[in-house]
Symmetry: C2
Subunit: 415 residues, 2 copies
């Protein structure tokens, strides 16, 4: 027998206490997003291989778990040509590709704008390492078909609310705009083809400081006056109250003034809704890597950590690139697995919604006693108590210790 | 661009109203099973191909979505030998194979007995047809490591409670025992090697009646006196109150008397717990197809339909066959997709837990008005109201019609 006990490499079995925490957090996420009007949808785990390899997925396209054709189609496949001729599907590596497909498939039946909530597993054949799994859960909200800042306000304030509800006090969501990044670089004299490299270096500001950033610019051979002009932006107060305060009219001619005004409207609206439970700030140094962002970008982090617990932005071109039908879009992906990791490290205990009692029943019990017991069980359950019935072990002490891990503190024994 | 809009063949996109119903039913199932002490667990969707093809899965092993090896392992695979050398995993076709693996992998960290609840998608490359999908959700409860009838009682009463909570009044769970089926066939003179065929014919009793069954036995060439003796059992009252009443001492010498007594103890215990919301009856004609059942078997159905909405039984050998470590086991699988189908046909409306208001906001709104609006939104949300903020369409009438489908009945418009 070649039975394998361990799970597939890089994927997890979740013990009851782990699964309970995951379920609790998922419900907080679903309930809060639902309270903000996001609508749960579901797409299949298996996606057409054509959609997964349409070049919109970047590096993730190298990490696809591919699914073999079946039956005649497999027999007719020409392997000598290409091994991919054997394949017709793959496990989704994110929820964005399925969302784009879903939206174009169902648009006639959906509200416009559409506030979508999608939660599900995704799979990546990555090298497994601590905190990185080959199957993991993603939680995405996206607003499709709305180019207004209501999208940004709702995405940021709902996600901030969830972090607050999960007990992460003082979460900060930083916001910037790709077009602001570009305007600053342009005004400093960098040429368009260097922008991506410039942003990659700027993105290291947190880690290597402004001097480090300057040195990297110099190493890359950029013009000294460009470097000086660009870095001067970041010598200012790094935490400006508003984007208008930060820029004044210094980007005039390089940027639609509306873009700065919009950032500030998002800040003031979200900070009303947050009631101080979390905050949103303008951060002109925020970059975020994904090339598909076209406007605002945001990232959530917790005070005292450098860890991102979510991020997103506006991607007005992607739906069109995928499906041929343009639609403005803006999304936020909350870092579910990281949140679970942090709550676990912090010893978070899922609150019990009910009183719990375990009945340990010896195998020698007679039918009439069993019936009496169930009369009592019925009453307890009707009064809203969680009653676990289970066979009593000889070593009931050990049995109770294990059951305590699942919240059973009270025990009754029946013989 | 070869982008494909429709989902993978045989798999589903769920619209918001469908996803909402699925989520509602899943929570009812999880909460009720949890109230009975079942513990949620999670296993990966991808399982080792060795485990999926170990001959325990029967016909389902022909329906596996197989996953291609990656990297060097794929390059080193010898396709000329066997196409399966290209494969190292597959999507699970049920939750029982992963459960057996999970139990042997984690037994030291789990309570004994272990009351497991597993809910997840499974995949079968079946011919798609109405109500049968290639990705669908299974909900299984299993009690591992307990040979007592507490397993049967808890499995049946918790599942009955769920059916009642979902509004299916008068659900009936029929119970029988494989060993009773065998003893009846044996006493009637059939030989052991014919049992499976005999049961397959008996299983048609509902559809073809006792005369039909007799004819099929005759066609199969069984001895007339065997047929007569066997069919005589089923000429009696088909709905006996207890198994003891049905059998008296007629199976003496063919069956441990304990087995009949146990069925009756299950009946009396469950019928106490049910409080009339559902019922359990002894049905000596219940067969159920799966060869791996070793003891009790059960099936849930709704009055006025012949549809099974769940089934299960005891399978004391399977865990041992899979893992080499014997463990008594008993399980019940509730028919999630069928229940969703029935609720949808019946026009079931998911109860709203909150008042819902949609704010439709025109794009011309000024920042100060927006801030005022969000002051109000904050208050409403704090008072427990679900507030959706969304951009107002020019055709707001149509927009409202679509939002009503998601439970928004009250609208406010902002310009």
């Amino acid at each position: 027998m070649s039975y394998i006990k361990t799970p597939t490499n890089g994927m997890n079995d979740y013990l009851p206490e782990e699964a309970k925490l995951r379920e609790y957090v998922l419900r907080q996420i679903k309930d809060t997003y639902s309270d903000f009007g996001f609508m749960l949808i579901e797409t299949p785990s298996v996606e057409h291989i054509e959609n997964l390899t349409s070049k919109q997925g970047g590096e993730n396209e190298k990490l696809i778990f591919k699914i073999l054709k079946r039956g005649e189609k497999l027999l007719n496949a020409n392997i000598s040509e290409d091994i991919d001729s054997l394949v017709d599907g793959g496990l989704r590596y994110d929820l964005t590709v399925p969302l784009a497909r879903y939206y174009s498939n169902n648009i006639g039946k959906l509200p416009t704008p559409f506030k979508a909530l999608q939660i599900g597993n995704v799979w990546r054949a990555d090298r497994p390492q601590k905190g990185r799994y080959r199957q993991f859960t993603q939680c995405d909200i996206d607003i499709l078909g709305d180019s207004s800042i209501l999208s940004e306000i709702e995405l940021v304030s709902s996600t901030g609310s969830i972090l607050a509800k999960l007990g992460f006090s003082g979460a900060v969501i930083r916001i910037n705009d790709r077009r602001i990044l570009r305007a600053m670089a342009q005004k400093s004299g960098f040429s368009e083809e260097d922008f991506d490299k410039v942003f990659i270096i700027l993105d290291k500001l947190d880690k290597i400081g402004l001097d480090g950033v300057k040195k990297e610019f110099e190493k890359s051979g950029y013009d000294a006056s460009n470097i000086e002009g660009y870095c001067a932006w970041f010598e200012k107060d790094a935490k400006p109250k508003t984007a208008s305060e930060f820029f004044g009219n210094k980007l005039e001619g390089y940027l639609e003034p509306e873009i700065i005004k919009n950032i500030d409207s998002v800040l003031s609206s979200v900070n009303i809704v947050s009631g101080g439970d979390f905050s949103v700030i303008f951060d002109p140094t925020l970059v975020r890597g994904m090339a598909y962002y076209t406007g605002t970008i945001f990232e959530a982090s917790l005070p005292g950590t450098n860890l991102s617990v979510g991020g997103g932005g506006r991607y007005d071109k992607m739906i069109g690139n995928f499906t041929g039908n343009e639609a403005p879009a803006c999304g936020f992906s909350i870092g579910f697995e990281r949140i679970i990791g942090l709550l676990t490290e912090n010893g978070f205990v899922v609150p019990e919604s009910k009183e719990k009692i375990a009945f340990l029943v010896d195998s020698s019990i007679e039918t009439n006693k069993l019936c009496e017991m169930f009369e009592e069980v019925k009453k307890l359950r009707e009064s809203g108590i969680n009653v676990m019935i289970t066979s009593r072990n000889k070593n009931a002490k050990f049995q109770k210790d294990v059951l305590r891990k699942s919240g059973y503190e009270e025990f009754r024994e029946f013989f």
